[in-house]
């Protein structure tokens, strides 16, 4: 029951990340999905190492979110060379 609720939330947040309009809106949905995955891993592995891996994953994903949000401010509208 608990795992099913978390799984539905994670899939919903991933779909909203794909179909979002703005770029910083995507960051907020991505953070909510990362919360869900950390809780899901702690519920699936029921040993003390499960808590360690959940903490490690969450802090690492926060560091990468920090770097992405910092460089969103620097790269305003980038030039793409298609065709």
């Amino acid at each position: 029951m608990l795992i099913q609720i978390l799984g539905i939330i994670v899939l919903l947040m991933a779909l909203r990340t794909l179909f979002a309009q703005d770029r910083s809106e995507r960051m907020l949905y991505l953070n909510a999905m990362s919360f869900g995955i950390a809780g899901l891993m702690a519920l699936y592995i029921q040993t003390p190492f499960g808590a360690i891996i959940a903490i490690t994953y969450f802090i690492a994903s926060t560091i990468s979110s920090n770097a992405i949000a910092y460089s969103i401010g620097r790269v305003k509208n980038e030039i793409i060379l298609d065709e």
């Binding site: 910083s24 953070n31 499960g50 979110s65």
Partner: protein
Amino acid sequence: MNEIIAIIIAAVLSWINFVLIDTWMGLPEQPGVRGADVIGRSVKRRGGDLAGGFFQGNIVCSPDASAGTLLASAACYTIGTPEGGLIAAVLVYFGNRLCADPGYAGTTGALSITCIIFAASYIGIGPADFIVGMVLAIVTIQGLHHPLASKLLGRIAEKMGRHTKLT
């Protein structure tokens, strides 16, 4: 049916916990890092409140009391009730300093949710319910509708005297 009521009570408890501690520690006042500034101004441009935008941006850019609540309840579920919260507080402090944040909000949130879990285990709400409840609480802030959530957070910040002075 009994399980759903437990999850709802846990969600309400963890929502009150992390919103009050984050507002008291001054998250809506100023953006700690530069990425939070970008996200806050983007939320304001879409019709929200600036203080609530800074709140959401600070949650994205460094593990604050919301992360402390989730990780402490996960550690209490897998390790044991008093010890897991204390271990999670230390690890959240190191992670907070890696993200250039003082780290007061994360450790305070982890320690207070440990006390709440220890008290709630006598009425039959386990730590596993608090994990699901915390994810439901963060979805109401970050996942449903950003301008409405930021207006609510801005009103709470104004009531506690922590509204931003930037424009």
